[in-house]
Amino acid sequence: MLEEVQVQALARLARIQLEAPEVPAMVAQLARILTLIDEMNAVDTSGVEPLAHPLELVARRRPDQVTEIDQRAVFQATAPQVQDGHYLVPRVLE
C-alpha cells in the first residue's frame, strides 16, 4: 500500500514540489491507479518478449552533415533568464 512518505519521495525524485493540501488526494489517487494497474499481473507473460515500440523500427542513419544553424538568440528569447548568451540559474558553487 502506497504511503505518504513514499509519495513525497517519488515527488522529490521527479523534482515536483507537492504542497501540503495536495498530498492526501495524491496519495489516495495514486493508490487507486496502482490498483487498476495491478490487474496486469493476472496475466502470465513468461516467455513473451517485451515490445518497446509498435513498428519495431531500425534506427535510420543519415549522412554526418551539419544541418543545424546557430539559433541561440532565437532559443534564448523564450528563456526565463539569460545573460551574455548564458542561461542563468541560482549559484551552484560558493
Binding site: 514540489q17 495524491m26 494497474i37 509498435p54 535510420r60
Partner: protein
C-alpha cells in the same frame, strides 16, 4: 450567405469563385466570436494573421496556383508548435511559450494554403479524456454545454462539432482524437504510428503519440490527411511509406469486405443503447456488401493498465525537459537549483500531469521496473499479436469508440480511474500502432455515438473508404447541434 460545412464543398466553392478565402475566413472568425464564449474551444484566435493568410491564398488562386485545400480555414490543437504564436499545450508551464519553429504538420498545411484561425483547447499536455485538465478552463460539448467534449483533443472536436471550423488537427496517444470525435458527433482519424510527423508536436508518450485530422466527414479526413501525412526526415520514427492519395479509393464498393466485431468490445461496460446503434451500423455495412462476424481480442482487457504504465513512464521522461531553465514557467526567487526545479515544476504542472509523472517515476524505479514497465511491455506484444491474428482473418475491426456518450462536466474529475476507463476501447490501438477512426453512428439521449473502425498497418485508405461509403448511406455525420447566434 450560408456556407457549406465540409472541406470538400468549401474547396469546390472556392474553385468556382462563389466566394473568396477572405470571405470564408471572416465568416468563420465571426462564428467563433459569436459561439466560442459558450464553448471555450479556442485558447488563441488569430484574426489578423488568418486574414493575411487568406489574402495570400486568394492571390495564389488568381495566379492559378491553388490546390484543393488552398484558402480553407482550420484550427490547430495547441500541442503543435506554431512559429511566432503561443503554443501552450494548455499548461501553465507553457503559458508564455512561443515556439521558434513550426511543427511539420503546421508547415505542410500552411504550404497547402490552409488558413489557421487559431489554437484549440485540450487537456494539459494531452493528458485527459474530458478536456477538463486544461489550464485555460474546460471546453464544453456543443451538443450539451453541461457535458464534456471528450479529450484530449476536446477543443478541436468541439470547434468542428459547433461548425466553428470545417477541420482541425488533433493528436491521439490513447484515444485523444477518437473519443472527442465520438462525443462531439464528428469524424476523426488516428493514423498508423509513423504516418504523420511528430516533429514539433509536443511529446507526451513518444511511442504512442500520433497526429491526425478531425472533420465532419471521412472524405474531408482523406483530403486533409493527404497534406498532413508523409515521410519526414526530422522525425526519427517517421515511416518511409510511399505517398498516397487517400481520396482515390473512397468510392470503391464494399462488396466482399470482411468485418470483425470483437466480443470484448461488446461487454458489460458498454451502454446497451450504444450497442444497439452499433448493431444497426453493422447491419448497414452488410447492406453495402460487407460481411460481419464475431472475433476475439482477449488481451485487450489489459490494455488500459498497460497503457497507463507505458504512457506514464514515457511522460515522466519526456516532461523532465521542463526544468524552469531554458523555457517555460520559472518560480519566483529560487533558493537553489533544486528549489528552482521543484517549485517551477510544482507550480507549472496541474494535478493530472503530476499524477502521471509520479506513476511513471514509480514504474521506472528500481525494484518496480520488472513488475510494472517490463510486464506492460510484454502485454503490449500480446495485444499487438491479438490484432495481427484477427486482422489476418478480417479486413477491419468495428466496435464502439467509447463505452458511454459524453458525460457531465465534473462527473469523473475526482476519480482518475473512472476517467481512464473512458478509453477502454481506444488505448489498445495505440499500443499496437494501428490506424483507427471514429465516425458518428447514432444518437443516444440527445448525444452522438461513435463507431470505431480499426484497420491494419498503413491501411488508412480502406478505413476511409468504408467510412465514406457508410456516410453516403447514412446521415448521422450531417447532424449538428442547434445554435442560436
Amino acid at each position: 450567405m450560408e456556407y457549406p460545412t465540409t472541406v470538400a464543398a468549401l474547396s469546390a466553392g472556392l474553385a468556382r469563385g462563389d466566394y473568396s478565402s477572405r470571405e470564408l475566413t471572416q465568416f468563420f472568425l465571426a462564428r467563433i466570436a459569436a459561439r466560442d464564449a459558450h464553448l471555450n474551444s479556442f485558447i488563441t484566435v488569430l484574426p489578423e494573421q488568418a486574414l493575411a493568410t487568406a489574402d495570400a491564398a486568394d492571390r495564389s488562386r488568381r495566379a492559378g496556383a491553388a490546390g484543393p485545400l488552398s484558402g480553407i480555414p482550420y484550427a490547430n490543437k495547441d500541442i503543435f508548435c506554431t512559429k511566432g504564436t503561443r503554443t501552450s499545450c494548455a499548461s501553465r508551464m507553457l503559458d508564455t511559450f512561443i515556439a521558434p519553429y513550426d511543427a511539420t504538420v503546421v508547415a505542410r498545411l500552411h504550404d497547402a494554403g490552409m488558413v489557421m484561425l487559431g489554437k484549440t483547447n485540450m487537456d494539459e499536455f494531452a493528458m485527459g479524456s474530458s478536456n477538463e485538465t486544461s489550464f485555460y478552463g474546460p471546453c464544453r460539448n456543443p451538443w450539451d454545454r453541461t457535458c464534456v467534449p471528450g479529450g484530449s483533443s476536446g477543443g478541436s472536436a468541439s470547434a468542428v462539432g459547433a461548425r466553428l471550423v470545417p477541420f482541425a488537427t488533433g493528436t491521439d496517444t490513447g484515444g485523444s482524437i477518437r473519443l472527442p470525435a465520438a462525443f462531439c458527433g464528428i469524424s476523426g482519424l488516428k493514423p498508423t504510428y509513423g504516418r504523420v510527423s511528430r516533429y514539433g508536436m509536443i511529446a507526451f508518450a513518444s511511442s504512442l503519440d500520433q497526429g491526425g485530422p478531425m472533420a465532419t466527414t471521412a472524405e474531408d479526413l482523406a483530403l486533409t490527411l493527404n497534406a498532413m501525412g508523409g515521410f519526414d526526415p526530422r522525425d526519427s520514427t517517421s515511416a518511409e511509406a510511399a505517398a498516397e492519395d487517400f481520396t482515390a479509393s473512397l468510392r470503391q464498393p464494399l462488396a466482399g469486405l470482411r468485418i470483425g466485431l470483437p466480443r470484448e468490445f461488446f461487454d458489460a461496460q458498454l451502454d446497451p443503447q450504444i450497442g444497439d446503434c452499433l448493431q444497426a451500423a453493422a447491419a448497414q455495412l452488410e447492406l453495402l456488401g460487407a460481411t460481419c462476424r464475431e472475433v476475439s481480442l482477449p488481451s485487450t482487457a489489459y490494455a488500459v493498465p498497460a497503457y497507463y504504465i507505458i504512457s506514464s513512464a514515457e511522460c515522466s521522461s519526456n516532461l523532465s525537459r521542463y526544468d524552469g531553465v531554458r523555457f517555460g514557467h520559472r518560480c519566483e526567487q529560487p533558493q537553489d537549483l533544486t528549489d528552482l526545479y521543484l517549485r517551477s515544476r510544482g507550480e507549472g504542472f496541474g494535478a493530472e500531469v503530476k499524477r502521471r509523472i509520479l506513476v511513471g517515476t514509480y514504474a521506472l524505479s528500481t525494484g518496480y521496473y520488472d513488475a510494472y514497465y517490463a510486464q506492460a511491455q510484454k502485454l503490449r506484444r500480446l495485444i499487438k499479436q491479438d490484432f495481427q491474428r484477427v486482422l489476418s482473418e478480417v479486413d477491419l475491426i468495428a466496435g464502439p469508440t467509447a463505452p458511454t456518450v459524453a458525460f457531465k462536466l465534473g462527473q469523473k474529475t475526482a476519480d482518475p480511474v473512472a476517467m481512464y476507463l473512458s478509453d477502454i476501447y481506444t488505448t489498445a490501438v495505440n499500443l499496437a500502432g494501428l490506424p483507427a477512426l471514429s465516425i458518428p453512428a447514432g444518437v443516444v439521449d440527445g448525444l452522438p455515438v461513435g463507431l470505431q473502425l480499426i484497420g491494419t498497418y498503413f491501411d488508412e485508405a480502406r478505413l476511409l473508404n468504408v467510412a465514406h461509403q457508410y456516410q453516403c448511406a447514412t446521415d448521422w455525420h450531417l447532424r449538428s447541434p442547434l445554435f442560436e447566434d
